[in-house]
Symmetry: C2
């Protein structure tokens, strides 16, 4: 079986055009010949094709409200039953949990500002920012996904309209908390190794699309810390302990005792943790409340 490939596929840059689904499939951009979602439940979705098949899809360019699959009559294309959170629908939900990007391919759709005139066009990487279900125009439940273009991809669409807040592209709303999870392969492996259980408190959060945990870097990435994105610098934590760790409310001693609360870091024998990084975190983030 071919491994599922997430992200850009060489040598096809964003904007690459294809005449048919067969060509798209051979290029590896979207393998299934008919299904709109390429993906499986606990693996995530690597690509989708927007081709106007769903009456509830809404395409704003950099933002897409995408409809899951299922419940349509094979002959008429009408929605005749509920969609459920299985197969491709579950796969797209898993992208939100894991932060995996999904390739978006647009097919020719009448009256869409963003679709190509003919054939198919690869339009870059999107994040699954949210998913929920609602009653579609048909009255049946459909699954909905909010896809947002990832930074670094080419900008699409009428930026001016967005600024002016036209009906076409409503103005960006206030948001309060936005989690941007962009796990690398190393982060995913560490989370899988611990079965998404927090190494500090053993909590495992369960949502309808599967378990959720976060990959926390011990020594932070980026200037000026320059921590590496390697497994010896990554912990699997629940959001609460991730926040506490990043804020300096808890730290880890060399022998894995927790500092600032009771307990010990759970460490799998296959997971080697670099003690220099633990020291870096203690030195830079941990404040002994009795110190000052």
């Amino acid at each position: 079986m071919l491994e599922r490939a997430f992200g850009h596929i060489s040598p096809y840059p964003e904007g690459s055009c294809f005449a048919s689904r067969a060509e798209l499939s051979r290029a590896g951009l979207h393998r299934p010949l008919i299904a709109g979602i390429s993906g499986r439940g606990q693996e995530g979705a690597d690509s989708i094709v927007l081709s106007g098949g769903y009456e509830d899809d809404q395409d704003f360019g950099d933002e897409i409200l995408y409809t899951g699959h299922g419940g349509r009559d094979l002959e008429t294309g009408q929605q005749v039953g509920h969609q459920t959170l299985i197969r491709g629908n579950l796969a797209l939900a898993f992208n939100k949990l894991s932060g995996l990007p999904v390739r978006v391919i647009r097919g020719a759709v009448p009256h869409s500002l963003y679709s190509p005139e003919i054939g198919y066009r690869y339009d870059g990487l999107y994040r699954v920012e949210d998913y929920w279900r609602e009653r579609g125009r048909s009255g049946f439940y459909i699954w909905r996904y909010r896809l947002k273009k990832m930074p670094g991809s080419l900008q699409l669409g009428p930026a001016v309209m967005e600024e002016q807040g036209s009906a076409l592209y409503p103005p960006r709303q206030l948001t309060t908390v936005l989690r941007l999870v962009r796990d690398t392969e190393q982060a995913r492996q560490i989370k899988a190794l611990y079965h998404y259980r927090c190494q500090m408190c053993q909590v495992r959060l369960e949502g309808p699309a599967g378990p959720y945990a976060e990959a926390a870097h011990i020594r932070p990435l980026g200037t000026p810390h320059h921590g590496p994105d390697s497994s010896d610098n990554i912990l699997c934590l629940c959001p609460n302990h991730h926040v506490l760790f990043d804020l300096g409310g808890v730290a880890i001693a060399d022998e894995f005792t927790l500092i600032g609360q009771e307990g010990r870091l759970l460490v799998d024998f296959r997971h080697s943790i670099n003690k220099d990084h633990l020291r870096y975190h203690r030195e830079h983030y941990w404040i002994d409340p009795t110190e000052d």
Copy 2:
């Protein structure tokens, strides 16, 4: 006492110039006449002035590595002792917890690409993305803050250099989880009402700069949900329950019993919650695991 004003101050748009600290103070952009940080521990910092006083400050335009205050000799300006997480330093740390924006004002600094030639210039709103302590050039502990220009503000600085990854502005690094908390006044009030305790599990996370909780919207903001940013649509939750609630792993019945786990939502008698929003969340996000 004047209330601390966060955000832009009318009628001074970004780019407004001032001849002196006294003028800045009268305009309300940065009230203190000498201190570089305007703010208090549990209120947050509303503005800072960058004027080259600290040897460890680094200014990359849209990103600033800012040094806290304290520990300097009054006469020589040399760092002669450790900085601690009190006063303005604690205030800036609180901005990270609460998502409050800080006004950045640049004074004339020799050899800085981003400072004005003379006087002071208001350069817009920044978020406090992270804080930590390190040993400064002097060998003493200093507190450090990573400030990032908020979107919607004017772009500053050499974008091309950033893309090319020059030494001046290193390329943007990979990040795994980024929490963007932008609490409104309503959200802050709800969090204060519950003393930062989670309404679902009563957990209260404590970091060195104070308690941390998140404001969760019951019916989400933004298209297509259009939930309001009003207190009857806001809960005070720990990050774990916020994630679970957003993923549909837990929901709330009209009489405040939790669905999907044991327990009941703690509701203060002064906090009226709109049951239509609870229903909206159940309908769109909650999936009964026994349903399909």
